[in-house]
Structures are given as structure tokens and as C-alpha cells.
């Protein structure tokens, strides 16, 4: 199962002066859920559109299932399912007809198609809305329809471009679980999002993109190991002296201590029992403190440390 599903080599895409994708390299193995993570405007959707041969690109090579991808590579296209960022369905067709239409672009066998459409409806939980027109659907349901239209033909490679934008948490969970289910059934998935929690939750491998460049690639764990920060301890405390800060800094693994707004923040670069050591020190000084919080680094921290800016702005 370790063959390559998608290979992107040195991809460059320019919009006049703007360099949207800058020498991007990606390799996605079959059976993976591959996350493309990046802030708005980082080039995720452009990359996807290039992979799909919707956009022409200035440089680079793209292979899907080890064959070069072209606008008329219909054998490859047959294996791909796409869920676009914007909802793309016919206003004039009902839920069921829409799914049937798009499934029909891939599957010619009538019997099989009927079965697939039914499965897609079940899968996205749209059973009660078969005869609804898209106009009458709520935002979340519309997203689900959008997904159903993309996956009904059981593609081997599914590309989802921010499928959860503007979806309530309940629908979102359902969508995420669905994606994992599709993956268990054997589909390779490319998933773009700017919600790092989502990506962290479902993706087996992640590429972080910023300004059209891939700045880091690997599993969530691997990515987190890229940075120094391993543990963040915050403590609500009324006041500490400069000496205390120096003393705390001297503790093993601690590499940064800051105090601001009655909040002490201690960053550690590994090791264990860091919290115990800190608390021991504070108790020894007889400080009284309130809230204690110890957190492991998130992908946001990874992004922050590599690019120097927050992922979400």
C-alpha cells in the first residue's frame, strides 16, 4: 500500500506578479489522509487546482497514480473525487438528482449508480432531504450535499478543499468522521484546511504551506518535534521577582520564562516532570497561585515558530 498516489515536483504558479505557488514538492502515499495546512491565501486551493489540471502552471510536474496528470487524462480523472471549497451543485436539481448527475459523470452502469447514489445519501445523512432543492437546505446540509456529489462514485483519491468552512460543530464532526470512514474503506485523501485541530485530528501526514512554499512536512508528531518547544506551563500568580524568573530559567529544560498580566509562562524543550519542578520551586518560595495549565504544543505553535506569525489571523 505504499505506492505514491500524488506526486508534485517543483510546482510553480504565478498570477502576474504574485507568486502563488513557489517550487512546491509533495508526495502523497496511497492510503494516507494527507493534510494541506496553511492560512488563507497561502496557495492551498491553487495547488489543488493545479493537481486537478484546472489551472495551467508555470513550472513543475504532477503525477497521479504514477501517471502524468493532464486535462484530458480521463483514466486518471475517473479515479478522483473532488469536493470544492465553494458549493457547486445545480440549483434546479433536487438533492438526489444532483448526486445522480455527478455520479453519472463517472459511472455508466445504471444499477451500480443507483446503489452508489443511495450509499452516498446514507453516508452523508441526507435521507430526509432527497427531494429538496439546494436553495432550501441549510448551510451544513448544503456542504454535505456538496461532499456527497464528490464522493458518490467511490473514488480512489478524494480531494477535499476546506469542506468544513462555515459548518456547525455537529455537522463538522460528522463530516470528519465520514472522511476517516472513507479512508478506512481504502481511499487516499487530500484534505486542505486552515483549522489545525481538524487536520491534527484526522490527518496521517501534514504539509504546512505558507506563501506558496511547503515549510514543513510529516506526521503531526514529527512536525511538533521540529520545534524546540515541547511543553507550555502557565500559572496565574500575583507577582514574581526578577530573581524568581532567573531561578526558574535555571531549571532543567526550561528555556524561556515570561511574566505578564499576573501570568507566568514557562516554555520547556523536553524532559518530563517539568511541572512538578516548577511547582516545587514556587511552593518553596511560599507563593500563592491560582490556575495552573500545562499544554503540549499545537500545530499553531509549529507554524508560529517557523514563520513567526499566527496561523489564524
Amino acid at each position: 500500500m505504499n505506492e505514491t498516489a500524488v506526486k508534485v515536483k517543483e510546482l510553480v504558479k504565478r498570477y502576474r506578479e504574485l507568486l502563488a505557488v513557489d517550487h512546491l514538492n509533495l508526495e502523497i502515499k496511497q492510503g494516507e489522509i494527507f493534510g494541506l495546512l496553511g492560512p488563507n491565501g497561502s496557495g492551498k486551493t491553487t495547488t489543488i487546482n493545479c493537481i486537478l489540471s484546472l489551472l495551467s502552471y508555470d513550472n513543475g510536474e504532477i503525477e497521479i497514480f504514477e501517471k502524468p496528470m493532464k486535462a484530458d487524462a480521463y483514466d486518471i480523472k475517473a479515479k478522483i473525487g473532488v469536493v470544492m471549497q465553494n458549493v457547486a451543485v445545480f440549483e434546479e436539481l433536487t438533492v438526489q438528482e444532483n448526486i445522480d448527475y455527478f455520479c453519472g459523470l463517472y459511472i455508466n452502469d445504471k444499477q451500480l449508480r443507483k446503489q452508489y447514489v443511495e450509499e452516498a445519501i446514507q453516508f452523508t445523512g441526507l435521507e430526509d432531504f432527497r427531494k429538496f432543492y439546494p436553495k432550501k437546505l441549510s448551510g451544513g446540509l448544503l456542504r454535505r450535499l456538496n461532499i456527497a456529489c464528490g464522493i458518490a462514485h467511490k473514488p480512489k483519491l478524494i480531494i477535499l478543499d476546506e469542506p468544513t468552512v462555515a459548518v456547525d460543530p455537529q455537522s463538522r464532526n460528522r463530516i470528519l468522521e465520514g472522511i476517516m470512514e472513507l479512508n478506512r474503506q481504502g481511499a487516499t485523501i487530500i484534505y486542505t484546511s486552515h483549522y489545525m485541530e481538524e487536520v491534527e485530528q484526522i490527518c496521517s501526514r501534514i504539509a504546512i504551506i505558507d506563501n506558496g512554499k511547503c515549510i514543513a512536512q510529516g506526521t503531526a508528531e514529527e512536525l511538533k518535534k521540529l520545534i524546540k518547544k515541547r511543553e507550555i506551563i502557565t500559572i496565574d500568580i500575583l507577582s514574581v521577582t526578577a530573581d524568581d524568573i532567573e531561578a526558574l530559567k535555571a531549571l532543567p529544560h526550561v528555556y524561556s520564562v515570561t511574566f505578564e498580566d499576573s501570568k507566568l509562562t514557562i516554555l520547556c524543550d523536553g524532559g518530563s516532570h517539568n511541572l512538578v519542578r516548577v511547582l516545587d520551586y514556587l511552593q518553596g518560595k511560599e507563593y500563592s497561585f491560582g490556575h495552573i495549565h500545562s499544554a503540549l504544543p499545537t500545530l499553531n505553535d509549529v507554524f508560529l515558530e517557523i514563520t513567526g506569525k499566527e496561523l489564524r489571523d
Binding site: 484546472l54 484530458d72 480521463y74 483514466d75 480523472k77 457547486a88 434546479e92 455527478f102 459523470l105 464528490g150
Partner: protein, 381 residues
């Protein structure tokens, strides 16, 4: 293939507002045309003409009097004469109660009003009458002194009931109102307006024009397999709607459209097809949004319709007499001309040429449009 067509029809017919307006458009406009043209030509119909006669108290009065009495009382007479003085006559003319004043004399003189141009035909008929009368009087006056012996022959010649000049018409329906050509033009316009449907097909299949098209473009179906049935579906849809308008004109407005019906229907169908493919062609062109392209379609079809005589009826023949190539290439003119040929000509060779040209256009538009969308990746979405 059929599946794509069925889905196209579903999307088209469910857009009720558009369907409604496409359907209603020829019906309303056809009715307006009918109302406007229904009574046109009425002023040209020959009815009796009111005139005033001013006598000159001379020898010429009696002769004129005889003829006038004959023409205003006998069957087939066209005058409604009254006798009065010069002043009274002028007053009547000013009030538009009479069309002209006949002054008796050696030469009968006619006076008409400058402010009654709507009666110019009747004025002309009066003039003809006066001329004829003067001719007879003059000819006789000239000839009689020398040719008394042939007097009877001359009088016979003057009053002979002879048809010098027999009517032999050129067209199939010589009396078809020339305003029928406005309806031909309306049908042609209706056909070309289907271009908007063609734009829709283009937008459905070009990834840089709609979200839907992106999804459709990434599917493994060959473009040709998708576009051809969609074009056909749109054509048939528009054709069905247009056929309703056609039936309304033919059966309710009673416009003469029904002879050679199979040919007429064929023309309608090809008309819709050329319209749709024109729209498809324009739709495949450039990076404007759908609204702008629909505007463009309109901006292209309206002048074509104008050139074929939709607004000014004799535009068509003006071009035919001076720059016939335009009529051979303008789809609106080709359609109008085809309808006209069918209703007026025994010889249909020009009709066939028209139809072939239209088919040529269909192929040209479809093929270039298809070449433009095929294999395309976009620089910008």
C-alpha cells in the same frame, strides 16, 4: 448521452421564470405586431373620395358634370361630389372634409391641401382622374376638326371596355401583406435569442466561468460527450418553446405560416440550433462573466436582426440591392429569407442555399467553440 440531455432539460424547465419569459416573449411581441399591422394598409384601400366641384359657368361645365354624375352614382364609381363656391370649397378642404377641389374649365384643375398628407393616395387618384379627363377632352379637341368622319371610332375607343393590361402575378401569394415579413423577422429574432441558452452551455463547461464547471471539468467524461448532448438539449428546449410562439402566430394571429409546414419547422429548428451554437461560440470566448456574455450576445443579435429588417422593413431589400453578401451571411437575414422563400417561391433553390449556409454556421460555431474549451487548463479561475 440521453442522460445528459434529460438532466439538461430538468435544469432548463425548472428555471420557471426564464421558461415563462421565453415562452411569453414571441406571444406578446407577435400580438403587438398584429395589432400595429392589422389595420395597416387601410389608408391605401380604395374607397370613395369626397371632392368639391367649383363650376366656371362656361361650356366646359356640362361635360364635367356628366362625367362626375356618372362616377359618383354608378356602380364602381369612386367619387362623392358636392357643388359649391370657391370659398366654401376651401373651407371644407381646410376642415379636411374633402380631399380635393375640382375647378371646371378648359383644363380641369385640382387643388389639394398640403396639410393632408395622410390622404396622399386619394389625392393621387384624383389627379389621375383629372388627367384622364383632360386627356380625353384634349385629344378629342385636337382630332375632331380634321377627323369628323372617324368620330364614332374615336368615341368607341375612348369608352371601350378593354383590358389592355392583364394581371399576371409573380409570387405564390402575391397578396400576402408585406408586413408578414415583420413576423418572419420576429421568428428569426426568436431563434437567435436562443443564443442565451448557448452561453449557458459554455458556462457549464468552462471551469473559469462557474463552480459547477470546475466539478464537471474534473470528471472523466470527455468534453465532446458532454457538450454535444447539452447543446442538443438546449436547442430542443428552445425549439419547443419557440414552437409554441410559432403556433400562436400561425393559429391565433392567423399569420400565413403554415404552407410547406415541414420546411418551416425545419427552418425553425435550424434557427434555434444556429442561435444556440452562436451563443456557445460567444460563451467560449474570453473571460467575462455570464451576465456580460449575455449582454454581448444581445449586442450581437440585435444588429443582425436590424439588418434583416426587424425594425425598418425595407432594410433587407436595401441591403439586397446594394450589398447582397451581407444578406447571404447574416443568420437573421438567412432565416427571414428562408421563411419568405417558403411562402412566396415555387423554386426553392435559394431556400436550400440558405439552409446549407445556416448548417455551415452551426458547424463553424460548434467546432470553434469546442476547440476553445477542449483540453483547456486555465491561467486563472
Amino acid at each position: 448521452m440521453l442522460r445528459t440531455m434529460i438532466f439538461s432539460w430538468k435544469t432548463l424547465f425548472r428555471d420557471k421564470a426564464n421558461t415563462f419569459w421565453i415562452l411569453l416573449f414571441p406571444i406578446i411581441l407577435g400580438s403587438f405586431f398584429k395589432i400595429a399591422f392589422g389595420n395597416l394598409g387601410a389608408t391605401e384601400n380604395i374607397s370613395t373620395i369626397p371632392v368639391a366641384i367649383v363650376k366656371s359657368d362656361s361650356v366646359y361645365d356640362e361635360q364635367l358634370d356628366n362625367v362626375i354624375t356618372q362616377l359618383s352614382t354608378e356602380k364602381g364609381g369612386f367619387l362623392e361630389a358636392s357643388y359649391c363656391t370657391e370659398e366654401e370649397a376651401k373651407e371644407q378642404l381646410k376642415e379636411k372634409e374633402i380631399v380635393g377641389i375640382l375647378h371646371s374649365g378648359e383644363m380641369v384643375r385640382l387643388s389639394v391641401s398640403e396639410n393632408m398628407k395622410e390622404q396622399s393616395m386619394q389625392q393621387s387618384i384624383l389627379k389621375t382622374f383629372v388627367d384622364r379627363y383632360n386627356m380625353q377632352v384634349n385629344a378629342l379637341t385636337e382630332l375632331l376638326p380634321d377627323h369628323m368622319e372617324q368620330y364614332q371610332e374615336m368615341i368607341d375607343a375612348l369608352s371601350a371596355e378593354i383590358t389592355y393590361n392583364a394581371n399576371e402575378s409573380l409570387g405564390r401569394h402575391p397578396d400576402q401583406s408585406p408586413y408578414t415579413q415583420y413576423f418572419f423577422n420576429l421568428l428569426a429574432m426568436q431563434c437567435l435569442f436562443t443564443a442565451v441558452g448557448g452561453v449557458l452551455v459554455a458556462c457549464h463547461n468552462q471551469a473559469n466561468l462557474s463552480e459547477l464547471a470546475k466539478r464537471i471539468t474534473v470528471a472523466p467524461t470527455h468534453k465532446l460527450i458532454r457538450i454535444v448532448p447539452e447543446l442538443l438539449a438546449v436547442t430542443i428546449y428552445e425549439f419547443v418553446l419557440n414552437a409554441v410562439g410559432f403556433a400562436y402566430m400561425a393559429f391565433i394571429l392567423k399569420i400565413q405560416l403554415l404552407d410547406r409546414l415541414p420546411f418551416t419547422v425545419l427552418t425553425m429548428f435550424l434557427g434555434c440550433f444556429v442561435g444556440v451554437s452562436l451563443g456557445f461560440f460567444i460563451g467560449c470566448f474570453g473571460h467575462f462573466d455570464q451576465t456580460a456574455k449575455q449582454g454581448l450576445v444581445f449586442a450581437v443579435t440585435m444588429p443582425l436582426c436590424f439588418l434583416s429588417g426587424l425594425m425598418i422593413g425595407n432594410m433587407n431589400i436595401l441591403i439586397e440591392n446594394h450589398l447582397p453578401i451581407v444578406n447571404r451571411l447574416n443568420p437573421a437575414a438567412l432565416l427571414t429569407d428562408s421563411f419568405y422563400r417558403l411562402s412566396q417561391y415555387e423554386d426553392l433553390s435559394r431556400f436550400y442555399t440558405n439552409i446549407l449556409t445556416i448548417i455551415g454556421f452551426i458547424i463553424l460555431f460548434c467546432v470553434t467553440g469546442f476547440l476553445m474549451t477542449r483540453r483547456k487548463t486555465y491561467a486563472q479561475l
